[in-house]
Amino acid sequence: MKITESINATLGILQKEVLSEFRTRYALNALLMFVVTTLSVILFSIGSENVSQEILCGILWIIIFFSSMSGLSRTFVSEEERGTVMTLHLIANPLSVYFGKLLYNLLLLTFLNIFTLILYLLMIPGFVINNYSIFVITIILGTFGLASASTIIAAIVAKANTKGTLFPVLAFPILLPLLMTLINATKLAVQGAILNEAFGEFRVLLSYSIVIIVISYLLFDFIWKD
Protein backbone atom coordinates (compact mmCIF):
# COMPACT_ATOMS: atom_id res chain seq x y z
CA MET A 1 0.00 0.00 0.00
CA LYS A 2 1.34 3.40 -0.93
CA ILE A 3 2.02 5.93 1.83
CA THR A 4 -0.49 8.37 0.35
CA GLU A 5 -3.18 5.66 0.50
CA SER A 6 -2.36 4.99 4.16
CA ILE A 7 -2.48 8.72 4.93
CA ASN A 8 -5.83 9.04 3.12
CA ALA A 9 -7.20 6.05 5.04
CA THR A 10 -5.96 7.58 8.32
CA LEU A 11 -7.64 10.88 7.48
CA GLY A 12 -10.79 9.00 6.45
CA ILE A 13 -10.94 7.34 9.87
CA LEU A 14 -10.30 10.68 11.59
CA GLN A 15 -13.16 12.21 9.58
CA LYS A 16 -15.46 9.33 10.53
CA GLU A 17 -14.58 9.72 14.22
CA VAL A 18 -15.18 13.47 14.23
CA LEU A 19 -18.51 13.16 12.38
CA SER A 20 -19.56 10.32 14.65
CA GLU A 21 -18.69 12.34 17.75
CA PHE A 22 -20.75 15.29 16.52
CA ARG A 23 -23.71 12.96 15.97
CA THR A 24 -23.49 10.80 19.10
CA ARG A 25 -21.55 12.92 21.65
CA TYR A 26 -20.12 9.65 23.00
CA ALA A 27 -16.97 11.16 24.51
CA LEU A 28 -17.36 14.93 24.43
CA ASN A 29 -20.24 15.21 26.91
CA ALA A 30 -18.59 12.80 29.36
CA LEU A 31 -15.31 14.72 29.21
CA LEU A 32 -16.81 18.18 29.59
CA MET A 33 -19.16 17.16 32.40
CA PHE A 34 -16.26 15.56 34.27
CA VAL A 35 -14.14 18.72 34.01
CA VAL A 36 -16.97 21.01 35.15
CA THR A 37 -17.99 18.74 38.05
CA THR A 38 -14.43 18.19 39.28
CA LEU A 39 -13.55 21.86 39.07
CA SER A 40 -16.68 22.84 40.98
CA VAL A 41 -15.91 20.31 43.75
CA ILE A 42 -12.30 21.54 44.00
CA LEU A 43 -13.45 25.16 44.09
CA PHE A 44 -15.91 24.46 46.92
CA SER A 45 -13.32 22.43 48.88
CA ILE A 46 -10.63 25.10 48.56
CA GLY A 47 -13.00 27.90 49.57
CA SER A 48 -10.94 30.80 50.87
CA GLU A 49 -7.96 28.60 51.83
CA ASN A 50 -4.52 29.46 50.50
CA VAL A 51 -3.35 26.52 48.44
CA SER A 52 0.27 26.44 47.26
CA GLN A 53 1.03 26.79 43.54
CA GLU A 54 2.72 23.35 43.56
CA ILE A 55 -0.45 21.64 44.77
CA LEU A 56 -2.53 23.52 42.19
CA CYS A 57 -0.20 22.21 39.44
CA GLY A 58 -0.87 18.66 40.67
CA ILE A 59 -4.64 19.23 40.83
CA LEU A 60 -4.65 20.53 37.23
CA TRP A 61 -3.06 17.33 35.90
CA ILE A 62 -5.26 15.13 38.10
CA ILE A 63 -8.33 16.74 36.48
CA ILE A 64 -6.88 16.27 32.98
CA PHE A 65 -5.83 12.68 33.74
CA PHE A 66 -9.20 11.52 35.10
CA SER A 67 -11.27 13.38 32.51
CA SER A 68 -9.22 11.79 29.72
CA MET A 69 -9.75 8.42 31.39
CA SER A 70 -13.50 8.97 31.21
CA GLY A 71 -13.55 9.79 27.50
CA LEU A 72 -10.53 8.68 25.52
CA SER A 73 -11.23 4.96 25.74
CA ARG A 74 -14.52 5.53 23.89
CA THR A 75 -12.79 5.62 20.53
CA PHE A 76 -12.20 1.84 20.58
CA VAL A 77 -14.80 0.79 23.17
CA SER A 78 -17.68 2.30 21.17
CA GLU A 79 -16.60 0.35 18.06
CA GLU A 80 -16.55 -2.83 20.15
CA GLU A 81 -19.92 -2.12 21.78
CA ARG A 82 -21.63 -1.27 18.49
CA GLY A 83 -20.07 -4.27 16.75
CA THR A 84 -18.40 -2.14 14.06
CA VAL A 85 -14.90 -3.44 14.80
CA MET A 86 -15.22 -6.06 12.08
CA THR A 87 -16.31 -3.41 9.59
CA LEU A 88 -13.12 -1.47 10.34
CA HIS A 89 -11.09 -4.68 9.96
CA LEU A 90 -12.56 -5.08 6.49
CA ILE A 91 -12.06 -1.56 5.19
CA ALA A 92 -8.72 -0.39 6.57
CA ASN A 93 -5.27 -1.66 7.41
CA PRO A 94 -4.46 -1.78 11.15
CA LEU A 95 -1.97 1.08 11.09
CA SER A 96 -4.43 3.46 9.47
CA VAL A 97 -6.92 2.54 12.18
CA TYR A 98 -4.36 3.21 14.92
CA PHE A 99 -3.16 6.53 13.52
CA GLY A 100 -6.71 7.66 12.71
CA LYS A 101 -7.81 6.96 16.28
CA LEU A 102 -4.62 8.57 17.66
CA LEU A 103 -5.25 11.76 15.68
CA TYR A 104 -8.86 11.82 16.89
CA ASN A 105 -7.80 11.39 20.53
CA LEU A 106 -5.21 14.11 20.04
CA LEU A 107 -7.87 16.44 18.69
CA LEU A 108 -10.30 15.60 21.46
CA LEU A 109 -7.67 16.01 24.18
CA THR A 110 -6.48 19.33 22.73
CA PHE A 111 -10.05 20.62 22.88
CA LEU A 112 -10.48 19.23 26.40
CA ASN A 113 -7.22 20.75 27.63
CA ILE A 114 -8.01 24.18 26.22
CA PHE A 115 -11.44 24.04 27.88
CA THR A 116 -9.97 22.82 31.19
CA LEU A 117 -7.20 25.42 31.23
CA ILE A 118 -9.55 28.32 30.52
CA LEU A 119 -11.88 27.20 33.32
CA TYR A 120 -8.96 26.48 35.68
CA LEU A 121 -7.32 29.86 35.14
CA LEU A 122 -10.67 31.64 35.55
CA MET A 123 -11.96 29.72 38.56
CA ILE A 124 -8.77 29.14 40.58
CA PRO A 125 -7.38 32.61 41.29
CA GLY A 126 -4.25 31.30 43.07
CA PHE A 127 -3.01 29.58 39.90
CA VAL A 128 -0.80 32.12 38.11
CA ILE A 129 1.49 31.27 35.19
CA ASN A 130 4.77 33.16 35.23
CA ASN A 131 6.39 31.62 32.15
CA TYR A 132 3.89 31.01 29.37
CA SER A 133 6.47 29.49 26.98
CA ILE A 134 7.18 26.60 29.39
CA PHE A 135 3.47 26.22 30.14
CA VAL A 136 2.35 26.05 26.49
CA ILE A 137 5.12 23.59 25.52
CA THR A 138 4.25 21.43 28.56
CA ILE A 139 0.57 21.37 27.62
CA ILE A 140 1.37 20.47 23.99
CA LEU A 141 3.78 17.67 24.95
CA GLY A 142 1.43 16.49 27.72
CA THR A 143 -1.50 16.30 25.31
CA PHE A 144 0.65 14.34 22.88
CA GLY A 145 1.83 11.90 25.57
CA LEU A 146 -1.61 11.37 27.10
CA ALA A 147 -3.24 10.82 23.69
CA SER A 148 -0.58 8.38 22.49
CA ALA A 149 -0.66 6.26 25.65
CA SER A 150 -4.43 6.26 26.10
CA THR A 151 -5.04 5.29 22.44
CA ILE A 152 -3.08 2.04 22.69
CA ILE A 153 -4.44 1.27 26.18
CA ALA A 154 -7.98 1.84 24.84
CA ALA A 155 -7.30 -0.64 22.03
CA ILE A 156 -6.21 -3.23 24.60
CA VAL A 157 -9.08 -2.74 27.08
CA ALA A 158 -11.74 -2.64 24.33
CA LYS A 159 -11.39 -6.44 24.07
CA ALA A 160 -11.94 -6.97 27.81
CA ASN A 161 -15.26 -7.48 29.60
CA THR A 162 -14.63 -4.89 32.31
CA LYS A 163 -13.61 -2.03 30.06
CA GLY A 164 -14.65 0.87 32.31
CA THR A 165 -12.58 -0.14 35.34
CA LEU A 166 -9.68 -1.66 33.46
CA PHE A 167 -8.81 1.51 31.54
CA PRO A 168 -7.73 3.73 34.48
CA VAL A 169 -6.16 0.77 36.29
CA LEU A 170 -4.02 -0.12 33.28
CA ALA A 171 -3.37 3.50 32.34
CA PHE A 172 -2.19 4.72 35.75
CA PRO A 173 1.19 2.90 35.95
CA ILE A 174 1.88 3.67 32.28
CA LEU A 175 0.98 7.33 32.63
CA LEU A 176 2.58 7.91 36.05
CA PRO A 177 6.06 8.90 34.75
CA LEU A 178 4.38 11.21 32.24
CA LEU A 179 2.18 12.85 34.89
CA MET A 180 5.08 13.37 37.30
CA THR A 181 7.14 15.06 34.58
CA LEU A 182 4.17 17.18 33.53
CA ILE A 183 3.60 18.34 37.11
CA ASN A 184 7.31 19.24 37.45
CA ALA A 185 7.28 21.17 34.17
CA THR A 186 4.09 23.02 35.16
CA LYS A 187 5.69 23.93 38.50
CA LEU A 188 8.60 25.50 36.60
CA ALA A 189 6.13 27.52 34.52
CA VAL A 190 4.35 28.71 37.66
CA GLN A 191 7.62 29.54 39.44
CA GLY A 192 8.73 31.65 36.45
CA ALA A 193 11.82 29.58 35.63
CA ILE A 194 13.70 30.32 32.42
CA LEU A 195 13.02 28.13 29.37
CA ASN A 196 16.40 26.32 29.56
CA GLU A 197 15.58 24.96 33.01
CA ALA A 198 12.62 23.01 31.61
CA PHE A 199 14.55 21.34 28.76
CA GLY A 200 15.16 18.20 30.84
CA GLU A 201 11.40 17.79 31.39
CA PHE A 202 10.66 18.48 27.72
CA ARG A 203 13.14 15.82 26.64
CA VAL A 204 11.46 13.24 28.91
CA LEU A 205 7.99 14.19 27.65
CA LEU A 206 9.02 14.02 24.00
CA SER A 207 10.89 10.73 24.45
CA TYR A 208 7.90 9.23 26.28
CA SER A 209 5.52 10.01 23.39
CA ILE A 210 7.97 8.75 20.76
CA VAL A 211 8.58 5.49 22.65
CA ILE A 212 4.83 4.90 23.17
CA ILE A 213 4.00 5.60 19.50
CA VAL A 214 6.81 3.36 18.22
CA ILE A 215 5.76 0.50 20.54
CA SER A 216 2.12 0.99 19.50
CA TYR A 217 3.13 0.96 15.83
CA LEU A 218 4.92 -2.34 16.32
CA LEU A 219 2.27 -4.02 18.48
CA PHE A 220 -1.03 -2.71 17.17
CA ASP A 221 -1.38 -5.40 14.52
CA PHE A 222 -1.37 -8.09 17.25
CA ILE A 223 -3.76 -6.17 19.50
CA TRP A 224 -6.16 -5.43 16.65
CA LYS A 225 -6.44 -8.97 15.32
CA ASP A 226 -8.39 -11.26 17.70
Partner: protein, 209 residues
Protein backbone atom coordinates in the same frame (compact mmCIF):
# COMPACT_ATOMS: atom_id res chain seq x y z
CA UNK B 1 -5.99 -9.42 -11.36
CA UNK B 2 -5.59 -13.15 -11.46
CA UNK B 3 -6.41 -14.36 -7.98
CA UNK B 4 -5.69 -17.73 -6.48
CA UNK B 5 -6.57 -18.94 -3.00
CA UNK B 6 -4.82 -21.95 -1.56
CA UNK B 7 -5.79 -23.42 1.81
CA UNK B 8 -3.92 -26.41 3.22
CA UNK B 9 -4.77 -28.22 6.44
CA UNK B 10 -6.75 -25.38 8.00
CA UNK B 11 -7.87 -25.99 11.57
CA UNK B 12 -9.48 -23.74 14.12
CA UNK B 13 -9.94 -24.27 17.84
CA UNK B 14 -11.46 -22.02 20.49
CA UNK B 15 -10.20 -22.73 24.02
CA UNK B 16 -8.85 -26.12 22.91
CA UNK B 17 -12.25 -27.04 21.41
CA UNK B 18 -11.68 -27.85 17.79
CA UNK B 19 -14.25 -26.30 15.46
CA UNK B 20 -12.95 -27.87 12.25
CA UNK B 21 -9.74 -29.47 11.11
CA UNK B 22 -7.78 -30.22 7.96
CA UNK B 23 -9.78 -28.08 5.54
CA UNK B 24 -8.20 -27.91 2.08
CA UNK B 25 -9.27 -26.07 -1.04
CA UNK B 26 -7.87 -24.29 -4.06
CA UNK B 27 -9.75 -21.50 -5.82
CA UNK B 28 -8.93 -19.52 -8.93
CA UNK B 29 -10.68 -16.84 -10.98
CA UNK B 30 -14.32 -17.66 -11.80
CA UNK B 31 -14.44 -20.34 -9.10
CA UNK B 32 -17.16 -20.28 -6.50
CA UNK B 33 -17.11 -22.17 -3.23
CA UNK B 34 -20.02 -23.01 -0.97
CA UNK B 35 -19.19 -23.77 2.67
CA UNK B 36 -21.94 -25.83 4.24
CA UNK B 37 -22.42 -27.61 7.54
CA UNK B 38 -24.63 -27.75 10.59
CA UNK B 39 -24.86 -24.85 13.07
CA UNK B 40 -21.56 -24.48 14.91
CA UNK B 41 -19.61 -26.41 12.26
CA UNK B 42 -17.42 -23.34 11.65
CA UNK B 43 -18.79 -21.88 8.39
CA UNK B 44 -18.53 -18.29 9.61
CA UNK B 45 -15.18 -18.98 11.25
CA UNK B 46 -13.75 -20.33 7.99
CA UNK B 47 -15.03 -17.37 5.98
CA UNK B 48 -13.50 -14.98 8.56
CA UNK B 49 -10.17 -16.80 8.23
CA UNK B 50 -10.30 -16.33 4.45
CA UNK B 51 -11.02 -12.61 5.00
CA UNK B 52 -8.05 -12.43 7.43
CA UNK B 53 -10.29 -11.19 10.25
CA UNK B 54 -9.19 -14.05 12.50
CA UNK B 55 -6.28 -16.49 12.34
CA UNK B 56 -6.38 -20.24 11.91
CA UNK B 57 -4.95 -22.45 14.65
CA UNK B 58 -3.14 -24.74 12.21
CA UNK B 59 -2.53 -24.87 8.47
CA UNK B 60 -1.77 -22.30 5.82
CA UNK B 61 -3.88 -20.03 3.66
CA UNK B 62 -2.47 -17.82 0.96
CA UNK B 63 -4.07 -15.48 -1.52
CA UNK B 64 -1.97 -14.62 -4.54
CA UNK B 65 -2.35 -12.37 -7.53
CA UNK B 66 -0.49 -13.50 -10.67
CA UNK B 67 1.49 -16.03 -8.56
CA UNK B 68 2.62 -13.27 -6.17
CA UNK B 69 1.34 -13.69 -2.61
CA UNK B 70 -0.70 -10.80 -1.25
CA UNK B 71 0.53 -9.76 2.23
CA UNK B 72 -1.98 -10.37 5.04
CA UNK B 73 -2.15 -6.63 5.77
CA UNK B 74 -3.40 -5.93 2.23
CA UNK B 75 -6.02 -8.66 1.96
CA UNK B 76 -8.78 -6.29 3.09
CA UNK B 77 -8.30 -4.29 -0.11
CA UNK B 78 -9.41 -7.18 -2.37
CA UNK B 79 -12.21 -8.52 -0.16
CA UNK B 80 -15.89 -7.67 -0.19
CA UNK B 81 -17.68 -9.15 2.82
CA UNK B 82 -21.35 -9.46 3.70
CA UNK B 83 -22.60 -11.11 6.89
CA UNK B 84 -25.56 -10.66 9.23
CA UNK B 85 -23.19 -9.96 12.17
CA UNK B 86 -21.40 -7.18 10.30
CA UNK B 87 -22.52 -3.78 11.56
CA UNK B 88 -22.68 -0.44 9.78
CA UNK B 89 -22.56 2.98 11.41
CA UNK B 90 -26.08 3.64 12.72
CA UNK B 91 -25.48 7.34 13.29
CA UNK B 92 -24.88 7.94 9.58
CA UNK B 93 -27.19 7.77 6.59
CA UNK B 94 -26.84 5.06 3.94
CA UNK B 95 -25.07 7.49 1.61
CA UNK B 96 -22.78 8.75 4.38
CA UNK B 97 -21.81 5.16 5.25
CA UNK B 98 -20.85 4.58 1.62
CA UNK B 99 -18.90 7.85 1.43
CA UNK B 100 -17.03 7.05 4.65
CA UNK B 101 -16.08 3.58 3.41
CA UNK B 102 -15.08 5.08 0.06
CA UNK B 103 -12.77 7.58 1.79
CA UNK B 104 -11.19 5.02 4.12
CA UNK B 105 -10.72 2.49 1.33
CA UNK B 106 -9.37 5.12 -1.10
CA UNK B 107 -11.81 3.98 -3.77
CA UNK B 108 -11.96 6.06 -6.93
CA UNK B 109 -15.69 5.92 -7.47
CA UNK B 110 -17.89 8.81 -8.51
CA UNK B 111 -20.93 9.98 -6.55
CA UNK B 112 -23.04 8.91 -9.54
CA UNK B 113 -21.73 5.34 -9.30
CA UNK B 114 -22.36 5.26 -5.54
CA UNK B 115 -25.98 6.27 -6.20
CA UNK B 116 -26.23 3.59 -8.93
CA UNK B 117 -24.99 1.03 -6.43
CA UNK B 118 -27.60 2.14 -3.92
CA UNK B 119 -30.20 1.88 -6.65
CA UNK B 120 -29.02 -1.63 -7.49
CA UNK B 121 -29.64 -2.77 -3.92
CA UNK B 122 -32.99 -0.94 -3.80
CA UNK B 123 -32.01 1.77 -1.34
CA UNK B 124 -31.87 4.83 -3.60
CA UNK B 125 -34.99 6.34 -2.05
CA UNK B 126 -33.62 5.72 1.44
CA UNK B 127 -30.14 7.06 0.73
CA UNK B 128 -30.54 9.98 3.12
CA UNK B 129 -32.19 7.98 5.91
CA UNK B 130 -30.21 7.11 9.01
CA UNK B 131 -29.15 3.48 9.19
CA UNK B 132 -30.63 3.23 12.71
CA UNK B 133 -34.08 3.61 11.12
CA UNK B 134 -33.47 0.72 8.67
CA UNK B 135 -35.03 -2.71 8.99
CA UNK B 136 -32.64 -5.68 9.19
CA UNK B 137 -33.34 -6.44 5.52
CA UNK B 138 -32.49 -2.89 4.46
CA UNK B 139 -29.28 -3.06 6.49
CA UNK B 140 -28.39 -6.30 4.71
CA UNK B 141 -28.95 -4.59 1.35
CA UNK B 142 -26.72 -1.70 2.37
CA UNK B 143 -24.00 -4.17 3.37
CA UNK B 144 -24.06 -5.46 -0.21
CA UNK B 145 -23.68 -1.93 -1.57
CA UNK B 146 -20.74 -1.29 0.78
CA UNK B 147 -19.11 -4.62 -0.07
CA UNK B 148 -19.33 -3.94 -3.81
CA UNK B 149 -18.09 -0.35 -3.56
CA UNK B 150 -14.49 -1.22 -4.53
CA UNK B 151 -15.50 -3.89 -7.07
CA UNK B 152 -13.77 -6.66 -5.07
CA UNK B 153 -12.15 -9.57 -6.90
CA UNK B 154 -12.98 -11.77 -3.90
CA UNK B 155 -16.52 -11.67 -2.52
CA UNK B 156 -17.29 -13.48 0.74
CA UNK B 157 -20.92 -13.96 1.70
CA UNK B 158 -21.99 -15.42 5.03
CA UNK B 159 -25.69 -16.36 5.06
CA UNK B 160 -26.23 -14.24 1.91
CA UNK B 161 -30.03 -14.21 2.07
CA UNK B 162 -30.28 -13.41 5.75
CA UNK B 163 -33.21 -11.03 6.51
CA UNK B 164 -33.94 -10.48 2.81
CA UNK B 165 -37.33 -10.63 1.10
CA UNK B 166 -37.95 -12.41 -2.21
CA UNK B 167 -36.84 -9.41 -4.24
CA UNK B 168 -33.71 -9.16 -2.11
CA UNK B 169 -32.86 -12.82 -2.68
CA UNK B 170 -33.13 -12.25 -6.45
CA UNK B 171 -30.75 -9.31 -6.10
CA UNK B 172 -28.28 -11.55 -4.25
CA UNK B 173 -28.45 -14.20 -6.96
CA UNK B 174 -27.70 -11.55 -9.59
CA UNK B 175 -24.72 -10.36 -7.56
CA UNK B 176 -23.52 -13.96 -7.20
CA UNK B 177 -23.72 -14.55 -10.96
CA UNK B 178 -21.87 -11.29 -11.68
CA UNK B 179 -19.14 -12.18 -9.18
CA UNK B 180 -18.71 -15.67 -10.63
CA UNK B 181 -18.03 -14.08 -14.01
CA UNK B 182 -15.36 -11.67 -12.79
CA UNK B 183 -13.66 -13.07 -9.70
CA UNK B 184 -13.90 -15.53 -6.83
CA UNK B 185 -16.97 -16.10 -4.71
CA UNK B 186 -17.18 -17.87 -1.35
CA UNK B 187 -20.57 -18.45 0.26
CA UNK B 188 -21.22 -19.85 3.74
CA UNK B 189 -24.76 -21.12 3.77
CA UNK B 190 -27.25 -23.64 5.04
CA UNK B 191 -29.50 -23.23 2.02
CA UNK B 192 -29.19 -25.87 -0.68
CA UNK B 193 -30.35 -23.38 -3.34
CA UNK B 194 -27.35 -21.14 -2.61
CA UNK B 195 -24.83 -23.95 -2.58
CA UNK B 196 -26.13 -25.14 -5.96
CA UNK B 197 -25.03 -21.81 -7.43
CA UNK B 198 -21.39 -22.62 -6.62
CA UNK B 199 -18.94 -24.79 -8.55
CA UNK B 200 -17.29 -26.29 -5.44
CA UNK B 201 -18.69 -27.33 -2.08
CA UNK B 202 -17.02 -27.94 1.27
CA UNK B 203 -19.18 -29.66 3.86
CA UNK B 204 -17.65 -29.02 7.26
CA UNK B 205 -19.69 -31.87 8.80
CA UNK B 206 -17.91 -34.32 6.53
CA UNK B 207 -14.55 -32.80 7.43
CA UNK B 208 -15.00 -33.96 11.01
CA UNK B 209 -16.11 -37.47 10.15
Amino acid sequence: MFLKISANGLSKAYNRREIFSNVNFQLKENDSLAITGRNGAGKSTLIKIIANIISQTKGEISISDKEKEIPKSKIFSIVGFVAPYLQLYDEFTALENMRIIKNIRNVLISEKNILELLNKVGLYKNRNDFVRTFSSGMKQRLKYACALLHDPPLLLLDEPNSNLDEEGVKMVWEIIEEQKAKGILVVATNEIEDSKLCTKIINLNKQEE
